[in-house]
């Protein structure tokens, strides 16, 4: 019935200029209008459809269409992979975590997102005549840490160059960057399957290493917002903010790996405090260079020492991981399409918008910008002392891979849990967990306690129990009132079988709701006051309770006894726990008794 409505002739659809893909609806009203000759619709099916049903069907149809096109883009299996090889190089621009800008003492914007526009602007940032750049040396620390974390060789001497182009987001008419002599070269980043690398890229190895050609420091541009029809509002707060540009070698061969590389670099930079804002907040952007070649053949182009590549195109300003993957897939397919049809790829700059199915051309070879790079005469060369580099290397914080490994080994957490907890709340969650484990181990008199067992238990509680409470009460980690000591007390009591698991969760929830420092009772007090201490039921007590419940539910008992529905045993256990006094019935013991009584 409704399918007839969808398959309307295209001619009728075009009459609805502003209703996109909506189809005309046959209903009582429209039929009436038609009978009076008052519509422009040619022919509609005779059936009438209630409005609500029609709207629902339309929504479903649109969703199915959208899904269909998405599947094409997100095709996990690359249909061309046998014949064509994709090569990708990534250029990441990351905002450094600094107090002030790169060449002026104006405060950096990263600190406050809600600041007024055009307030954090020095005279140099606004290109006032006569002003000169002044290198702010504190910006070197995060940049150096990023270089060291990525395994680069830090150059003792590097230079500052001007990259000229006219744009309203560049008041000086040029960007100060490090074109000829970047401050760091020849690094690498190692990725494993858990980081999201495409399996085919690993080709049997445990990990792959993507080379980093160089890292350079440069200025960020001002922020512009478009106001229709053609005016732009410019905010110079961001102009001159320090960026590092990280250029990888073209050694990436799939879109998933490219996104994984960017994700891993972002995590790495956050862990050494080099960059505090990620892609989600606009603090990290990526440009990708994409080329294809027939498998086994060798192209005429090379970059950074990697040769035999095809002609590449550059896709600029990708601002999310999904965008990176989708844009590379779309560009790969476009290039393969052009080459298979006998065409030639031009070295262009292309753009990608969210939800698009193909990249759009921004600049061709004719429109190629001549940046007229030249050394900036106002700035002396940057000379970095090796004592500083050595100091930063030895005091570098633990890198994410090492943290995850350590948490797995020392605390027995699974790889997934370790990765999750290390990434939460800027490392505070993990710190909380580690402190709690230490406190629990202290309380345990027995030195033979297995640290990994305690670790696993505490990890679960911090991640899932506390995490769950956080989620339901919708507060941030910083506002959590439960202290490590309190959690350690709860878990210690649990381990010593002083309380049941259910009681423990209940205690946690209670403590979570209490405001901080206002005469917070200790865990021991709570247990005593609530009479929650496990008073283990005697054997007869268990049997009596179990027996009573079994007698009240003969059908259930029959199901277990005769039909062998083992699952229902737990139902009995639940009933026992509920029936018994708080803190008296232990589920494991209860289960044993029920199973025994029901003869299974």
């Amino acid at each position: 019935m409704s399918s007839k409505i969808r398959r309307c002739a295209p001619a009728t659809l075009s009459l609805f200029a502003n209703t996109s893909a909506r189809t005309p609806r046959a209903c009582i009203v429209s039929q009436w209008l038609r009978s009076r000759g008052l519509t422009t619709v040619e022919s509609t099916p005779s059936q009438t459809v209630p409005l609500r049903k029609h709207l629902k069907d339309e929504a479903k149809r649109k969703k199915a269409e959208a899904k269909g096109s998405n599947i094409n883009i997100k095709a996990k299996t690359n249909p061309h992979s046998d014949e064509w090889e994709l090569t990708v190089g990534v250029e990441i621009h990351a905002e450094l975590n600094t107090a002030c800008k790169l060449f002026s003492a104006a405060p950096a914007t990263a600190a406050d997102i809600n600041g007024l526009p055009n307030t954090r602007v020095a005279l140099f940032d606004a290109a006032m005549p006569g002003t000169q750049p002044q290198f702010q040396r504190a910006t070197l620390l995060p940049a150096l840490r990023a270089a060291i974390a990525l395994g680069c060789d830090v150059q003792r001497k590097s230079g500052w160059d001007r990259k000229h182009y006219s744009h309203w987001d560049q008041p000086n008419g040029y960007q100060i960057t490090q074109y000829y002599e970047p401050f760091a070269k020849n690094g690498n980043i190692v990725l494993r399957a858990e980081d999201g690398v495409q399996k085919t890229d690993l080709s049997g190895a445990q990990s792959i290493s993507i080379g980093i050609k160089q890292i350079q420091m440069e200025q960020d541009t001002a922020k512009t917002t478009h106001h229709a029809p053609s005016s732009y509002h410019v905010d110079l707060n961001r102009a001159g903010h320090p960026l590092i540009e990280i250029i990888t070698l073209p050694q990436i061969h799939s879109p998933q790996t490219a996104a994984a590389v960017v994700r891993k670099i972002q995590t790495l930079l956050k862990s050494v405090d080099a960059c505090a804002t990620g892609m989600e907040l606009g603090g990290l952007r990526a440009d990708v260079n994409v080329s294809v070649r027939q498998r086994g053949s060798s192209g005429n182009y090379s970059y950074g020492g990697v040769s035999g590549l095809g002609q590449r195109t550059e896709i600029k300003n990708l601002s999310s991981f999904a965008a990176i993957e989708n844009a590379i897939m779309a560009e790969r397919d476009r290039q393969i399409g052009v080459l298979e049809a006998g065409g030639v790829i031009e070295g262009e700059t292309r753009g990608w918008t969210l939800g698009a199915s193909e990249t759009t051309r921004l600049r061709g070879k004719e429109g190629e910008v001549d940046y007229r790079y030249m050394p900036d005469a106002d700035l002396p060369p940057l000379v970095i002392g090796c004592d500083l580099v050595d100091h930063l290397r030895t005091t570098l914080p633990e890198l994410p891979d090492a943290t995850i490994l350590r948490v797995q080994q020392d605390y027995g957490l699974s790889a997934k849990d370790a990765k999750t907890i290390a990434a939460l709340d800027d490392g505070e969650r993990l710190e909380f967990m580690e402190e709690t484990v230490e406190l629990v181990l202290d309380k345990a008199d027995d030195d033979q306690v297995d640290k990994t067992k305690v670790g696993k238990l505490v990890g679960n509680w911090v991640l899932h129990e506390l995490g769950g409470l956080l989620a339901t009460s919708n507060i941030a980690w910083a506002d959590v009132t439960v202290s490590e000591t309190e959690l350690a007390d709860i878990i210690a009591n649990l381990q010593l079988k002083q309380i049941t698991s259910r009681t423990a969760k209940h205690l946690l929830a209670t403590l979570h709701e209490l405001p901080p420092n206002e005469g917070r009772p200790s865990v021991e007090q709570l247990i005593d006051n609530g009479n929650l201490r496990l008073r283990p039921l005697s054997e007869e007590g268990y049997s009596a309770l179990a027996g009573a419940i079994i007698a009240e539910n003969p059908e259930m008992a029959k199901a277990v006894k005769e039909k062998g529905h083992k699952g229902k045993v737990m139902w009995f256990v639940g009933q026992m726990v509920r029936r018994g006094d708080e803190g008296t019935v232990e589920p494991e013991k209860a289960r044993e008794v029920v199973e025994r009584l029901l003869g299974s």
């Binding site: 600190a111 055009n118 602007v121 005279l123 509002h233 410019v234 970095i384 500083l388 100091h391």
Partner: protein
């Protein structure tokens, strides 16, 4: 410039090797040259021995610099964000000026600069100068003091977020020179004129 140094005044110093840097000019060589001949300074300085016009194309004959086409001129003007010429006359004038400038540049390019690093600016390039400019532990002392180590088990280095940020940069009227503004924003017209 090597060529110029050789041409100007130092030739009068006689035995002085032109490629030696002026910093190494010693009193000994002055004494030597004074013995050779009594210089008539007035006479020497009365007639210039060299003029920059030697680097410009001679007025009568055409220069041997390459032709600049009108298309190239317009491209260069656009790159430099300069206005295009109003009429044919102005364009012809621009082209001829550009042509003599190119001739000048070609003359300069005839200088042999093999093995000489381009000068970027006049700086202290001595060992001492480089040492003073080096950013090592001492120079970065204050910046390092702005960081702290957080955590006992999972140690992380974090920059201290001081909200008493530097105020001196914010005490001028940023929008004061704006031709157009809306609220606290500069406004730029992005539409094409034609």
């Amino acid at each position: 410039m090597h060529h110029l140094v050789r041409c100007t005044g130092l030739r009068a110093a006689g035995s002085l090797n032109a490629s030696r840097r002026s910093a190494e000019f010693s009193t000994a060589s002055i004494a030597r040259s004074q013995k050779e001949s009594i210089l008539d300074i007035e006479k020497l300085l009365s007639r210039p021995t060299w003029s920059v016009s030697s680097l410009l194309p001679p007025k009568d004959s055409a220069s041997d610099a390459p032709e600049v086409t009108s298309k190239q001129l317009h491209h260069l003007l656009r790159l430099s964000a300069l206005p295009p010429p109003k009429d044919q006359q102005e364009e012809a004038k621009m082209l001829s000026t550009l042509s003599s400038q190119l001739h000048f540049v070609k003359e300069i390019q005839k200088v042999d600069t093999a093995g000489i690093e381009p000068l970027r600016s006049l700086r202290d390039e001595t060992m001492q100068g480089e040492k003073e400019a080096e950013l090592g532990m001492e120079a970065m002392k204050d910046a390092l003091a702005q960081e702290e180590v957080r955590g006992k088990h999972h140690k992380r280095i974090r920059r201290r977020r001081d909200h008493t940020a530097a105020k001196q940069e914010e005490d001028w009227d940023v929008l004061g020179t704006a031709q157009r503004k809306v609220g606290r924003y500069f406004v730029v017209e992005g539409g094409k004129d034609k």
